[in-house]
Symmetry: C2
Subunit: 91 residues, 2 copies
């Protein structure tokens, strides 16, 4: 399912136009992103937690040539599924 299909579903469930559904959805993701940019984590009960994970610089390897390369430190968004979410898939 891609974003367009998701928006179409939401448009129906929420009784909104597709344009409004998309605006609503974007507002939510942007709000989450803003919190993450401020180095805050976002906990959503029953769904999961978004947090920014810092990754240290390390040595990697180009699989094609085999040569070693330095990988810079970076940050990425991690999503940790809530307990309820795991249970859904493991029964």
């Amino acid at each position: 399912m891609n974003k367009k299909q998701l928006i179409a579903k939401l448009s129906g469930s929420l009784n909104l136009s597709k344009a409004d559904a998309e605006r609503t959805f974007d507002t939510i993701t942007n709000t989450i992103l803003d919190a993450l940019k401020g180095d805050d984590s976002v906990k959503i009960a029953g769904f999961g937690t978004y947090k920014v994970a810092k990754r240290k610089a390390r040595v990697g390897r180009n699989p094609r040539t085999g040569e070693q390369i330095q990988i810079a430190a970076s940050q990425k968004v991690k999503f940790l599924p809530a307990k309820a979410l795991k249970e859904v898939f493991n029964k």
Copy 2:
């Protein structure tokens, strides 16, 4: 930031009551979860992809006693941040 705070923000941005903001938010998460339950992945452009990852059974260990235990195969929801999302945090 927890769910309550997120809902409060959305209530303001979307010009909805907190109850409506929460209903809207829950509708979205449920829609995503339903797709995942159907073993479908959910791609959201500019944000990321949710997918169900199957994890193989393996040998684990009880950290308290040190004894080895068998861990069953399981499934969990994975979130892969979109490229745009990584860039936000690495500049």
